[in-house]
């Protein structure tokens, strides 16, 4: 734990960069299970259709509305219409706090410099509008040796390292 504070966490830790099979941007998926292939529907539609399993969360949607139906969710796509719109960070972390362990995919304007923080909020796959450079992603994910606070990953915060 102490040696690699980023190990573990839902769907593997942010440091896990092993590619997984299926899809063209596999290396941006940090999970071992097969990728769900059902198309996503909006939150309102999802709540209406009792057989849907993939849901799109748009900026401004309140993910807490998924609480009663969480057991049928396999994929949550959280959209970033602009990289400056940070609501999706809270959405992902709230989902993990609710106990959701399925895939959370970031779509839209996902910039390489955001990925590390997205991983910490519980995102475990990425489908950005503009393709990312793999070497840059790896560099960014491995830049910070520690974290100062809890998030949705299993990273041990510095205060905890200090006090054993």
């Amino acid at each position: 734990m102490v040696d690699d504070p980023r190990a573990g966490g839902p769907g593997g830790g942010p440091g896990t960069l092993e590619p997984t099979p299926g899809g063209e941007r596999d290396w941006l998926r940090f999970r071992d299970d097969p990728a769900p292939d059902e198309p996503v529907v909006t939150l309102d539609t999802f709540l209406d259709q009792s057989n849907a399993s993939s849901v799109l969360i748009e900026a401004g949607d309140d993910v807490r509305r998924l609480a009663p139906v969480l057991d049928r969710v396999r994929l949550v796509e959280i959209d970033f219409p602009k990289f400056r719109d940070g609501r999706g960070f809270s959405s992902a972390r709230v989902l993990r706090e609710m106990g959701y362990e399925g895939e959370i995919k970031a779509t839209g304007e996902v910039l390489v410099d955001l990925i590390y923080f997205m991983r910490r909020c519980g995102f475990d796959s990425f489908a950005p509008h503009v393709p990312l450079d793999r070497a840059e992603v790896e560099a960014v994910l491995n830049r910070y040796p520690h974290v100062y606070q809890h998030a949705a990953d299993a990273a041990v915060p510095i205060w905890q390292l200090r006090h054993g």
Partner: protein, 544 residues
């Protein structure tokens, strides 16, 4: 003073490499300027009119001599030999080259400093009472909590892209020296009837184009729950704030639109949730941090006497020295407002002198203040004369704390690309007009604050006399405001009427000040008189 351990150091070092890499990618054209902008802003790098400006964080306004010397070195090596202390206890350099910025950050990291989250849509440097740990009137030193908040809010994943900036201030005294309620979130340490200490919490303050004074949303919060409570506030804001209009995204707008009660309800609900997650640092971590802020080894049996036989020194001591909690000690305010100079500016040589004084006379500690001055927090009264002599020789001996020439001014049109008007020359002209020491003393406490546009960096909303630069058909014009305050009786200044040109605004200020002299009652400050008679008592004198 807080000292980094290997973890803090590793984080700051990593940030330097992070930014070096981002700068390289920008310079190689792998990122657009639009994409780079928020990244550089999170490292305190603004683009101004003529060059980049770098804002360096001074956490809760506390620094030591080694850090001050490094700031001097940076001023000399990478800038034009000076720096500028800001209204949030930070320092800015005005003439920075983008390609130098990573090296400057690397230099700062060697003295436990950084520019992390000093601008952009982020949780900014925490500000605090500049007298923390020294003030005679404080309950306890608030800085250990400020440091905990600094750590928790550094690279906080969920709040990577907040709707706007978020400013926090912390104090622990009845007297407010930090413009508390002008912050997005303000914390005041209080003691309840059981003798326990906790935070009184205010939220939703801010200046800019839509000023709001923060509402009190919690009377008493146990100190060991502050990190949960702050996260709750941030999440409620991040989730609900508008994203369609940059001018409506500060938390103050949300608090206003939801209403104080609904905002509080949502925060309390989210707070219970965070408490259950165990987000607060444990007592052991508080103890570890607080140990760094233990009082320095004050001497006992010191003399309380100050030899006032030198009249120039006596005048300075009357204005610049504040009460210290330890017998025989005093707090020294160093004015960065010499008459006719740029408010808050200081040369590399002056920085080094101040560093020497701190090392020799003040247990190696210095403070920056939101009024753009400096403080030697722990000085023996018997050393005051020697300190004054050294300051005086270096051009830092001005005796004008909180007087009419102790003006706050933003960079304005001399530097800033958003400005409508210049602020610095107006500050200089007003200071020259009122330079006479007797006149200043007679006028007493009078806080003038000048902004070059409605963004209000110069705190004009909080000025006893505020000045706001506007653009009137392509020429610089200045509005006059009266009655603002950033102290424990916070108030928002009101516009007097039509604006003035540059010469006219100086005359208008003088007319307002003379009117005060005419109608004041014994013991009344300018602000007290204004509050008693209102705008009507001044209007005619100003406009005739």
């Amino acid at each position: 003073m807080y000292k980094y351990d290997q973890y803090d150091q590793a984080m700051v070092d990593a940030r330097v490499e992070d930014f070096r890499d981002q700068t390289r990618r920008r310079l190689e054209g792998k990122m657009t300027d639009d994409q780079f902008k928020p990244l550089r802003l999170k490292n305190g790098l603004y683009l101004q009119l003529h060059a980049y400006m770098l804002r360096v964080a001074i956490p809760y306004g506390t620094l030591n001599s080694r850090q001050m010397r490094k700031l001097a070195h940076i001023a000399r090596t990478y800038d034009r030999g000076y720096g500028h202390f800001t209204t949030r206890q930070n320092i800015q350099y005005n003439w920075i080259k983008l390609e130098d910025a990573p090296d400057i950050l690397a230099e700062l990291a060697t003295v436990e400093m950084h520019a992390i989250q000093t601008s952009g849509e982020s949780i900014r440097n925490i500000s605090a009472d500049q007298y923390a740990g020294a003030a005679a009137d404080e309950i306890i030193d608030p800085r250990p909590w400020a440091e905990m908040i600094r750590q928790m809010t550094t690279f906080m994943p969920e709040f990577s892209y907040l709707p706007r900036k978020f400013k926090i201030a912390v104090i622990a005294a009845e007297a407010d020296r930090a413009a508390l309620r002008w912050h997005d979130c303000a914390l005041r340490i209080v003691q309840n009837e059981a003798g326990e200490i906790g935070f009184e919490v205010f939220a939703g303050g801010g200046m800019g184009r839509t000023p709001f004074i923060a509402y009190r949303i919690r009377e008493f919060l146990p100190t060991d729950q502050i990190l949960s409570y702050l996260q709750a506030i941030l999440r409620v804001w991040n989730r609900n704030a508008r994203r369609d209009n940059i001018h409506k995204q500060r938390m103050k707008i949300l608090v206003h639109e939801l209403g104080e009660d609904e905002f509080r309800r949502q925060v309390e609900e989210e707070f219970q949730h965070f408490l259950a997650l165990g987000e607060d640092f444990p007592q052991a971590e508080y103890d570890r941090i607080a140990a760094y802020f233990a009082p320095p080894p004050f001497e006992t049996d010191l003399s309380e006497e100050i030899d006032r036989s030198d009249p120039d020194f006596a005048l300075w001591a009357d204005h610049q020295v504040a009460a210290h909690k330890a017998p025989g000690y005093a707090i020294v305010n160093i004015s960065l407002k010499p008459i006719g100079q740029i408010p808050g500016d200081i040369s590399a040589e002056q920085m080094e002198l101040v560093a020497d004084l701190a090392e020799r006379y003040s247990f190696d500690e210095l403070r920056a203040t939101h009024a753009q001055n400096l403080v030697l927090p722990h000085v023996r009264k018997q050393d005051l004369h020697a300190i004054w002599t050294a300051l005086h020789e270096a051009g830092l001996g001005e005796a004008n704390l909180d007087l009419v020439t102790d003006i706050i001014a933003c960079p304005g049109l001399d530097y800033c690309s958003l400005a409508n008007a210049r602020s610095i020359p107006v500050a200089q002209k007003i200071a020259e007009r009122f330079a006479d020491a007797e006149r200043q003393k007679d006028l007493g406490e009078l806080k003038i604050k000048i902004s070059g546009c409605i963004n209000a960096c110069g705190h004009h909303h909080a000025g006893h006399i505020g000045i706001l630069g506007v653009d009137r058909k392509g020429t610089e014009n200045y509005q006059l405001l009266l009655g603002g305050s950033g102290d424990e009786e916070t108030s928002q200044a009101k516009i007097t009427g039509p604006g003035f040109d540059e010469a006219g605004i100086v005359d208008a200020v003088e007319r307002a000040v003379e009117r005060y002299r005419e109608i004041r009652e014994p013991g009344e400050r300018f602000l007290d008189t204004y509050r008693r008679v209102g705008m009507d008592g001044f209007k005619e004198a100003i406009y005739g």
